[in-house]
Structures are given as C-alpha cells and as structure tokens.
C-alpha cells in the first residue's frame, strides 16, 4: 500500500524503544517533579518524543523531497530522433522507440511538477501521522 510505503520511507512504521532513551528517562523524571504520576509522566514523555519524531520526518519530507531531474525535464524531444539516428546508426524505428521512451520519462518527470509541488505532495503524505501523534499527545496530557 502507498501509505505503508510512506511510513517505511520515513521510518515512521518502526516501533522505537523510547523507554530506553536518555531523553525519555529525563523527560519522565522532569514531569514527575512537576507533579505528574509516574504512569502519566511516562505516557506524556513517550507521546512528546513520538510527536517530535513525526515532525522531524515532516521536515525531511519538505526539505529533501524528490529533486527535479533537470536533464530529463528540459530534454528537447523534437530533435531527439535525429540525434539518436546519427549516434546509433540504427534503424529509424529504433530511434523513434528510444525517443518514445525518453518522451515517457519526460512526461513522468513533468507530471510530478516543480520543487514546490513535490515538497507539498511529500508533506501531504504525512498529514495523518501528524494528526495521530498530536491526538495521542493531547490525550496523554488532558486527562492528567
């Protein structure tokens, strides 16, 4: 499924053992000092760290979205069969089938849009992770 591919790509489907991390232990003890019970403090600390994990993945999705392949995007397809014919010395059919292949590549590249469209799409795929993470954090804090 596309959604599970996304989560794998950003490492969000991997269960992380938060309880053994230093940040978790320190956050939990800080919250206990603030007057939260051990159970609630543990829940809030885990949810806060999970929320940060999602937001870091969101940043990565925005900042490192698939780059535009300039050479394919700007390729001159009209003159391509002629150039290919001269280079390969093959038949006209060979040249036009290679040109069709490049045409398909260019269409796919352009269909994805420019850098802004790509990063918008990339972040959009992570919306549900943010929704889930903030909802868990909110639930951990509010009954406390």
């Amino acid at each position: 499924m596309a959604s599970s591919q996304n989560s794998r790509k950003h490492g969000l489907n991997i269960e992380i053992d938060l309880e053994s991390s230093c940040a978790y232990v320190s956050l939990k003890s800080l919250l206990i000092k603030e007057g939260y019970s051990s159970f609630v403090a543990a829940d809030i600390a885990a949810c806060l760290l999970n929320y940060r994990r999602v937001m870091d993945a969101y940043y990565e999705a925005y900042f490192r979205s698939i780059p535009v392949n300039e050479s394919i995007w700007n390729m001159d397809l009209e003159g391509l069969p002629l150039v290919l014919g001269e280079i390969s010395k093959g038949t006209a059919a060979d040249s036009s089938s290679i040109a069709r292949l490049f045409g398909r590549l260019q269409r796919n590249e352009r269909r994805q849009g420019g850098p802004v469209s790509r990063r918008t799409l990339s972040c959009h795929k992570l919306i549900r992770y943010q929704r889930h993470a903030i909802s868990r954090l909110s639930k951990a804090i509010r009954p406390a």
């Binding site: 995007w73 802004v116 469209s117 909802s135 909110s138 509010r142 406390a144």
Partner: protein
C-alpha cells in the same frame, strides 16, 4: 531554579529550520509566546515550542501556495509564447514574480505584457487559469495549513490544561500549608 526553556531544550529535539530561515526570528517569536505566561512549566515550554513550529509551517506553506500559483501562471504564459518544448519557464516565472509585486524592470515588464497580449489574457484571467491548473497542489497546501491550525488547537487546549493543573497544584499547596499551620497551632495550643 533552572531556566525551563533551556532544560526542555536539552531533552527534546528542537524544531529544525530551513537554511534561509533565522534562528533569532524563531527564538524571538517563541519568547513572544512564552511571555504570555508568568512562570511557564517545562511541559508548557515544550508545548509552546511545538506551537511556534506550527506557526512557522503555516508561513512556509502559505508562501508555497503563492509559489504554486505563480509557477502555474508562468507555465501558461510560457506555453502561449510558443517557446520550444524544452524551454525552461523559470525565466518567465522570475519576470512574472517581479511584475506581480511591482518590482519588475522595464524590460521584464514589457516582456510580461507582451506575453499576456499574445495569450489574450488579463492578469486576473491568468490568475484564474493558473489557479485551475495548480488546483490539486494548492488544495494540498491548504490541507497542510489546515492541519497545522488543528494541531495548534490541540496544543492550546493541552497548554490550558497544564496551566490549570499547575495553578491547581499551587492552590492545593497553599491550602495544605494553611492546614499544616493550623494543625501546628492546635498542637502548640494543646501542649
């Protein structure tokens, strides 16, 4: 007592900024939000940092929304001008950016006007067509902005709840202190 901003910053990974963004601006906007609290607890500081990050995401996505529209408008002008298929529309995009913000040089202004004339479009026609062309991605940017607003609402409610809890604890501490004092006074009287 340790500064709660520093103590939470060492425990929780801070939001990351883009290379062109200023850490000082982020911190100043964070301090502005924190100044609303008398003595923010570390948890409230952590939540306010997340809220500040949401505000920054809203700004980024809003800028992107405008960029998506401009890119689509530049694409329409490029196609209408019968440039070769390989023509990179960034040149048109930059000139259009200047034209729309009123900062275009004379040459760029004339060029965009010429392209508009050739496409038989006014600026508002172009904007409407550009919006139609980029609708899918503009809608996505809107969803992202909306998501940040929703997240901010969750965070605000959580901050309220933490604030209420700490005020409640303070009040209970005071009441306990009064009760203890009363008990001590009774003990002293009885002895």
């Amino acid at each position: 007592m340790k500064d709660p901003v520093k103590s939470i910053a060492t425990l929780l990974p801070s939001p990351r900024l883009l290379p062109n963004e200023s850490e000082a601006d982020f911190q100043s906007s964070l301090q502005g939000l924190l100044s609303e609290f008398e003595t923010p607890s570390p948890l409230n500081v952590a939540l306010v940092i997340q809220l500040n990050e949401c505000l920054w995401w809203i700004k980024r996505h809003t800028v992107d929304k405008e960029l998506l529209l401009h890119d689509s408008m530049a694409g329409i002008l490029t196609r209408s001008a019968e440039f070769p298929q390989s023509y990179d529309n960034r040149r048109v995009s930059m000139a259009l950016e200047g034209f729309l913000s009123g900062n275009a040089g004379e040459e760029d202004e004339q060029w965009i006007e010429e392209l508009l004339k050739r496409a038989e479009l006014t600026v508002s026609d172009l904007r409407a067509r550009g919006f139609k062309g980029a609708y899918k991605h503009i809608k996505m940017a809107d969803d992202l902005i909306h998501r940040q607003y929703q997240t901010m609402r969750h965070l605000q409610k959580s901050i309220d709840s933490v604030d209420f809890k700490s005020r409640l604890i303070k009040r209970m501490d005071l009441e306990l202190a009064v009760l203890e004092n009363n008990a001590l006074a009774i003990d002293a009287k009885s002895s």
